[in-house]
Amino acid sequence: MRSSFEVFLGSKSGEWLVRIIQIGLGLLFIYASLDKILNPGLFAKSISNYRLLPLPLLHISAIILPWLELICGIALVINRYQRAAYVIIGSMLLIFILAITSAMVRGLDFYCGCFSVDSEESNVGLLKILQNIGLFLSCVLIEYRTVVVQPKS
């Protein structure tokens, strides 16, 4: 027996809602990637501020992550490889949430490098965590629709 929420998700309106969220997420990740792609050194500096990653992995992460955001963002917008993109974006969001939480717990004070590498961007904080949780839940919702509500036979 399906709940009314599941029925809605399976309907045409649900499909449209999911498509709109998917394009929105895609555009957001494309936007978030551009400044980091153009300023890899500044992005590496942002990552190093978290003091979580072993130094040998710093440059490699700063080189690959923004492109992963861009490619996954494009995949969501054009609706190709979208499930893989959701898994990657969901995993990245989960890591961001843990990293920001860990930085807050350790009392580190720095800008998070979430959407740009601008040092005027807001610092790590509760709002950033909630923002990322919201995005993560969007990914979960869409994956839930794909896997549970409308599984392909």
């Binding site: 190093s48 440059h59 080189i63 995949a75 490889y81 499930r83 720095f110 040092s119």
Partner: protein, 173 residues
Amino acid sequence: MNQMNKLIKDILTLIILSTLLGITAQAVLPNGIGLKTEITMVGDDSTAVAVPAVSINPNGNGDAASNISLENAHAAYENNAALFFDARSPEDFSSGHINQAINLPVHAFMDSLPYLENLNLSRHIITYCDGEDCNASIDLAADLKMMGFSNVNFFFGGWQEWRDAGYPIESGP
């Protein structure tokens, strides 16, 4: 099972594509970085800490601020030869700072532009924050360098090292 295999294959495809594009881009971008993280040692010899070179010089333009030791920072203070910029928050600054230092929180750098624009770009500036647990002094020094100041040092030992040495301090805004 087929769907799971396809998903894993797709994930790997996106990761490999991003890796290839990312590495290629570094060769094309004027400010591209290498795959290997370069390390710079900062702090006094006895308390040197390894930090990524990009922390000090994110644009890799070869004109980065450098570290200044406690001894040299104190000499500059005694000779009234440098301006000390405290990169911490106003609250931290109020609770105690290097005597005659100016509070210039790194996260509100743009707010300080009207003040900075009136300074001579060749003026010797020393930035500091709490000490080894913070990077704000390095960030502020990098911002000042980008703004055109030519003689900028960050004092990585910071407030803690200065206070522990018993050098002049004051509190209040």
